[in-house]
Amino acid sequence: MSTKARIPHWADVTLVPLVSIALAFVISAVLIWAIGESPWDAVKMMVEGAFGSSYGWGYTLYYATNFIFTGLAVSVAFQARLFNIGGEGQAALGGLGVALVCLYIPWPHWSVALVAASIGAAVFGAAWAFIPGYLQAKRGSHIVITTIMFNFIAASVLGYILVNILRPTGSMDPASPRFAPEIALPKLHEMLALVGIPFSRVPPVNISLLIAVGMCFVVWYLLWRTRLGYQIRAFGESEPAAEYAGISPVRITIYVMLISGGLAGMMAVNSVMGEQQRLVLNAVEGAGFIGIAVALMGRNHPFGVVLAALLFGFLYQGGAELALWTAIPRELIVVIQALVILFTGALDNMVRIPIARAFAAVRAR
C-alpha cells in the first residue's frame, strides 16, 4: 500500500508500540480515576504486586509463559498474513492432549512425561488448527470465521469429554482426575535452589518457562533461517509474488496453521501439566486471545513476543493484586488488553502517521 507511512525500522519496532501502549495506559488511567480510585496508587500497587517479591515474579512469569506460547502462535500466522483467532480452542485441545498423555501412560519420570506431553499438546493443537487451515487453503473459507467457530466447537467437545469420559465416577466437577504426582513438573523455586537462589514456593511457574523461551528461538530460527520460514514470510508479503516464485499457497497455509496450532496447544503444558495437574473445563482462561495482543505488540517477532508476554504477565498478576486490595475489578486488565489491541492493531495508522510526519519534518530540516 502506497499510503503506508515511512518510518525508520527501529522506530517502527520501538516507537509505534510504545506510543500505542502509552495511549492505552492513559485511557485506562482515566477510567481508574473515573471510578474514584487513584491511578498512581494503582500503578504502584501493580508494580509492587507483580515485581516486588519473588512471589509476584513467580506469578508474572507463570502468566507470561502462557502468553509466550499463544503470542508465538498468533505471530507465526500473522507472518503469513493469516489471522488465527482460534488459539483459545487450540490451547483447549492441547490441554486434552496433555491430559490423555499424562493420565493413560504410566511415565517413569517427569522429564519423559514432559517431552511426551509437549508432543501431545502440540499434536492436538495442530490437529484442531488443521481443519480451518485446510478449509482456508483448499476451499477459501475465511480463516477468521472458521477459527472463531472452532473455539466454540472446542468448548463443546471438551465439555462433553470431561463430563462423560474423563470425569471420575462420583465426582460432580467436570474435570479429569489428578495426574500422578511423580510427573509433577519441577517448579522454578526447585530449579533456582540448585544454584542457591531462594524463590517463593507458591507460584506455579515451572520448567515450561524454559520450553517457552526455547520455542522463541525455534520460531526465530524457523522464520528467518530456514527455507520454509522464508516461504512463509514471502507468502505474507505478497501472495501472488510468492506463488509466482513457485511457493504453494495451499502448502504454506496448512503448514503455518499446523505450526500455529501446535504452539497454542503447547500452552497447556504450562497450565494443565504445570499448574492444575488435571484438566478442567476452562483451563485456557482467555490466554489464547491475549496471544493476539501479545503478537500485535511484539510486532510478530519472537523477541517482541517475550517482552509483550512479560508486560501482560505483569498486568495479569498486578491486576489480581489490584482486585484483591482495591475496588478495581480484575476486568480492568481486559480493558487494557482491548485498548492495546485497538491501538497496536486497528488504530496503527493513527499512531504511525503522526510519527512519520515528525520524522519527515526532522529530515526536511
Binding site: 478449509l135 466454540f152 463443546s156 463430563v163 493476539i292 488504530l347
Partner: protein
C-alpha cells in the same frame, strides 16, 4: 411430547431468536457495506449492560433501551474510526471492541452496583412488558389458531415484534432504495461508487451506524426482555452465533430470519430438554450447542452451496490520487 411443550419451545424460540436476529441484521448491513463486524458480541454486551443499568436507575425500560442504543453506537463509532477513517484492520478492531465491552461492563457495573459485575434484578416498569395481542384471550381455546396466536405469537416484548419487522425493512432498504443499492455497491466495488462521486466513507459509516443501532436493540432485549438484568458476559457467544447465521443466510435478510429461527430453536430445545433422543440415539447437549458453529463451518467450506461474502468486505478503501 405434547402440544403444550411444543408451543412452549416455539414460543421461547421466538424470544431466543430476537437478539440473534437484531445482531445478525446488524452484521449483514455492515458487511454489505464492506465492513467486517466481529464486534457484534461486544456491542450487544455493552448495550445489555447499559439497558439494564439505566432501566434500573430510571425505572423505565425505554430510557434503558435508548441508552443501550447510544452505548452500542459509541462502540460502532470506535469501529468506524479505526476501520474506515484510519483504514485499520477491521477484524482486529472487532476483537478489540469485544474485549473492551467485556472488561468495561464489569468494571462499571462493579463500581455502580457492587454486585460482582451484575446489575440489580429489574422489576416492574424497568422490565420489558409482554404485549398481549388483540383478541389473544378470546381465541385462546380455538384449536390450532389458539395455540399459534395466543400461545406463540402473542405475549412477547415489543422488541420481538420490532426485530421481525426489521427483516422486511432491511430487505427493502438494501434492495429497493437508492441508499441500499449504493451500500451494496460499496461492499462489492467501492472504487466504482467513488467514481460516481458518492462518498465511500460516508456510506460505510452509515452501514456501521445502522449496525450499532441494531446491536443496541439486541443487547437491550437480552437484558430487559429475555432476562431481568445484566450479568457478566451475558451475551455468551450470541454475537458469534449471529455472525454464523449471517453466513448461513449468505448475507440475505429473509434467509437470516430463517437461520436465526433455526439457531434459536436449537437453543430452546437445548434449554428445555437435558437429554434428547433422535431415532433412539441420545444426543448430548453439547452437540446441540455446537451445532450452529458446525453448520456454519460446513456452509463456509462450500459443501452445501458456497457462502460468498460481499467482494470488498474487509478491505479498507484507499482513494486513488
Amino acid at each position: 411430547m405434547d402440544i403444550a411443550t411444543i408451543v412452549q419451545v416455539i414460543d421461547s424460540t421466538l424470544r431466543l431468536a430476537t437478539p440473534l436476529l437484531f445482531a445478525c441484521l446488524a452484521g449483514l448491513i455492515s458487511e454489505r457495506a464492506g465492513v467486517f463486524d466481529i464486534g457484534l458480541e461486544g456491542k450487544m454486551l455493552i448495550a445489555a449492560f447499559t439497558a439494564a443499568a439505566i432501566a434500573y436507575v430510571s425505572a423505565n425500560v425505554w430510557i434503558g433501551v435508548g441508552a443501550a442504543v447510544l452505548a452500542s453506537m459509541v462502540l460502532s463509532l470506535v469501529h468506524g474510526v479505526a476501520s474506515i477513517t484510519f483504514r485499520g484492520n477491521q477484524l482486529i478492531a472487532g476483537v478489540a471492541i469485544n474485549f473492551l465491552a467485556a472488561g468495561i461492563t464489569v468494571v462499571i457495573a462493579q463500581n455502580w452496583f457492587q454486585l460482582g459485575g451484575r446489575t440489580p434484578s429489574l422489576t416492574g416498569d424497568a422490565r420489558m412488558a409482554r404485549l398481549q395481542l388483540p383478541f389473544a384471550d378470546a381465541v385462546r381455546d380455538v384449536p390450532v389458531l389458539g395455540p399459534v396466536y395466543s400461545g406463540i405469537l402473542s405475549g412477547h416484548g415489543l422488541l420481538v415484534y420490532v426485530a421481525f419487522l426489521c427483516v422486511p425493512l432491511t430487505w427493502y432498504m438494501l434492495f429497493r432504495t437508492r441508499l441500499g443499492l449504493r451500500m451494496r455497491a460499496v461492499g462489492e466495488n467501492p472504487a466504482a461508487v467513488d467514481t460516481a462521486g458518492i462518498s465511500v466513507v460516508g456510506l460505510r459509516y452509515i452501514g456501521v451506524a445502522i449496525g450499532g443501532v441494531l446491536c443496541g436493540l439486541a443487547g437491550a432485549y437480552l437484558a430487559t426482555g429475555l432476562s431481568a438484568g445484566f450479568v457478566q458476559e451475558m451475551t455468551a457467544g450470541r454475537g458469534f452465533i449471529a455472525l454464523a447465521a449471517m453466513i448461513f443466510a449468505k448475507w440475505r435478510p429473509w434467509h437470516a430470519m430463517g437461520a436465526v429461527l433455526l439457531f434459536g430453536f436449537l437453543e430452546a430445545v437445548a434449554n428445555r430438554f437435558q437429554n434428547i433422543e433422535i431415532l433412539g440415539v441420545g444426543v448430548p447437549v453439547q452437540a446441540m450447542q455446537a451445532l450452529p458453529y458446525v453448520l456454519t463451518v460446513v456452509i463456509l467450506a462450500g459443501f452445501v452451496g458456497k457462502a460468498i461474502p460481499p467482494r470488498a468486505v474487509g478491505t479498507p478503501y484507499v482513494k486513488e490520487h
